[in-house]
Symmetry: C2
Subunit: 428 residues, 2 copies
């Protein structure tokens, strides 16, 4: 861990710097797979599943029988935990429902917004050793609440052609209606273009490796929308002399175990706390099964000592972390000053794991300083706000002349004329 | 105009087809200019302004004096029209302000969203013969209401190094605080990377030619967010036997005059209306200054006769138009069935020009079938929804065990541990 004491403001740039991500070198490979899936549909997908996942698949769709089988395989404790998490995620996203009101902007002119769900969405869930069933809940629950009609999920099978049972159980609970055994670039292509089995969707959600990210970027230039650009996961913890060093160390480590490119920053106003956290990290690290990964991440992590809590929050706003933990007693005051962050955890009991799994907030959040301009996934991410307007005769009287004048000013005579014919009709 | 009578559903695909847009052929040129601006800042921008806009610029920033001068040059009628439009746009976007409420998802776990403005936004306003001051209002008004701190505007100067006075007046009224004489790819690069004069922004908004679009796509892969992908403007009008053919023809023409790639579709349940509109289009076309452009657009436009109003709205939803005008008496019923559209105009007086300029709705809308997944620009486009959460001891009791169980299920032991240390602390 790198200890930085009282950095000058001009050095903050170095502290908040992310590793440069350039996916363009993968573009040739990614484009080839995408093109193949576009042209050859299921046959291409099956070929790539054989090649990359060593799975021989006759059918891509998961059957009802497979879901029933999965339900037998998941322990009742895990099932109940998934159900509790789903309940909380549903409660929080349900509360985000939007009802627009009609606004009479000027006499006779009424405008409003309506939230309309995206009809077809595609969720990508990565494979690998750890089955990310929590991400299934995070992506599918709001899709179902928004009212998306087709909720398609793709995830790579193991070499026996099976998906992890916890993924299937979570998908069933959250309301996914079409599940396919299909991973990587071929899954992104299948959802972007559609194949014989896998329906084309209008927006693709979810995490993945660099190839999946590059494929999402590629298809987002033409065919479909995506949730957000992605980078390695990050946490920033702000602590003071009253924080609990055991909790803070555990939070830093929970981020560090994600992968060696994870970003971990502690900002503290107390040198004593900094030292305690550093020691506690070493104690806890030794006990972790993924301690090698975590140790490697920590080599690039930063423990920053600052003068006061204002400086702490300023540095955090400059960093724009995906997760921000305010592990101080004055968390309310600091929370009010947050400008750039994905999700904020307030007080000593609000650990990142709470939000990663079960508090109700979404864990699909902007990384890599994208929090400067992007929101995490929320109910809006599955909806469009369509605007509506209605004008009466009075409406024409209120704005008709202004519209004609402005259209003339922009030399768009037909635009002016569309209003003129209506003004004239009122004079008859 | 192409007349299509009672098309079979399997032929709708042809009707709703957009011209293929491939900006990748421009990438070499665009990347060269972007790279040059990134490396050489103002000097590169000035060089390109000399080359492309034939403007020799000592300074890129518009001065207070130039704004005062512009205010003298704009007629009081146009100024009042701009003010009225600004009033209505402000009223509509002001009403979109979001106040999240705190949700206790389960005992002791409280989650909420807060809308936080993007600190720095960049607005691009194209140049050319017609000064798009209406777009200045549409992009800057919600930025100001959202509370964005830096609202930067770039627009190409004429060969005398001046911006159109109406653009400057609109920018002043709407609350832009930094205006630069800078257009094309160099403007997008300047706002994406920052130069000595032009600040880096976090999100870039606004229309432009193919080069500008390609540049926005390029920078959106790395540096900044953009409002939405863009394509040629479109209108779909649904009419029946009671519609006003003069109004409908004027609306089709107001779209057709935009450019030869504009998309114009009439869907009607009445063959008599179809013929009347066709005749009326020819009458009005002859009187337009931009009749050559409009005539060319109309060659690719479609007048579609369908069996009933359900089929009309189904076809419109398949088309997913940027603008949808419901020029029928049953506009309420049809509006309830809209799934895919950018902005909907209801009834005979709600012409597209009303929304283009002054009703209050935004005119920056998704084209090219992007309405399937994107919203038009609205107050949300300038904000991020940041999530916050707070847990009490009860919160740990409510979800602690579930978090540990799920983290273990995902083989993320440090995630489990961050919760475990908190559970243990309660037992002491």
């Amino acid at each position: 861990m790198n200890i930085i004491k009282y950095p000058a403001k001009e050095d903050w740039k170095e502290i908040v710097k992310r590793p440069h991500l350039d996916l363009s070198q993968l573009n040739t490979t990614v484009e080839a797979v995408l093109g193949d899936v576009k042209n050859h549909g299921d046959a291409a997908v099956k070929r790539y599943e054989e090649k990359f996942d060593h799975a021989h698949l006759d059918h891509l769709a998961v059957t009802e029988e497979e879901i029933k089988e999965a339900e037998q395989l998941v322990s009742s404790e895990l099932r109940h935990s998934i159900e509790l998490a789903h309940h909380n995620i549903a409660a929080f996203h349900e509360a985000q429902k939007f009802t627009g009101s009609k606004i009479e902007t000027v006499k006779g002119v009424t405008c409003w917004q309506k939230s309309v769900p995206i009809e077809k969405v595609g969720l990508y869930i990565p494979g690998g050793t750890a089955p990310l069933f929590s991400t299934v809940l995070m992506l599918a629950t709001p899709a179902k609440i928004a009212g998306c009609k087709d909720i398609v999920l793709c995830s790579p099978p193991n070499s026996e052609g099976k998906l992890n049972p916890a993924i299937l159980v979570a998908a069933k609970i959250a309301g996914v209606n079409k599940i396919f055994k299909c991973g990587g670039v071929q899954a992104i292509g299948a959802m972007a273009y559609g194949t014989e089995s896998i329906p084309k969707v209008y927006k693709i959600f979810g995490p993945g490796n660099q190839y999946v990210m590059a494929a999402k970027q590629q298809v987002s230039l033409h065919e479909v929308a995506i949730d957000m650009p992605a980078g390695p996961s990050e946490v920033c913890v702000i602590a003071d002399e009253n924080s609990n060093p055991t909790f803070v160390a555990a939070d830093l480590l929970s981020q560090a175990e994600h992968g060696i490119d994870s970003q971990v920053i502690l900002i503290t106003t107390s040198e004593d706390m900094l030292n305690k956290v550093k020691d506690e990290v070493n104690v806890q690290l030794a006990q972790l099964p993924r301690c090698e990964i975590a140790a490697k991440t920590l080599e690039n992590s930063q423990l920053v000592l600052v003068h006061d809590s204002q400086e702490a929050i300023d540095l955090s706003n400059t960093y724009a972390p995906e997760h921000l933990i305010l592990a101080t007693d004055n968390y309310e005051e600091l929370a009010n000053k947050v400008i750039n962050a994905g999700s904020v955890f307030m007080g000593k009991y609000a650990c990142e794991s709470a939000g990663d799994y079960a508090s109700g907030t979404n864990h699909t959040l902007p990384t890599h300083q994208y929090a400067l301009a992007y929101s995490g996934v929320n109910l809006d991410t599955y909806n469009r706000k369509v605007t509506f307007q209605h004008l009466t005769e009075d409406g024409i009287r209120s704005i008709g002349k202004a519209v004609v004048c402005m259209a003339e000013g922009e030399q768009l005579e037909a635009h002016a004329n569309a209003m003129r014919v209506r003004i004239q009709s009122l004079k008859k």
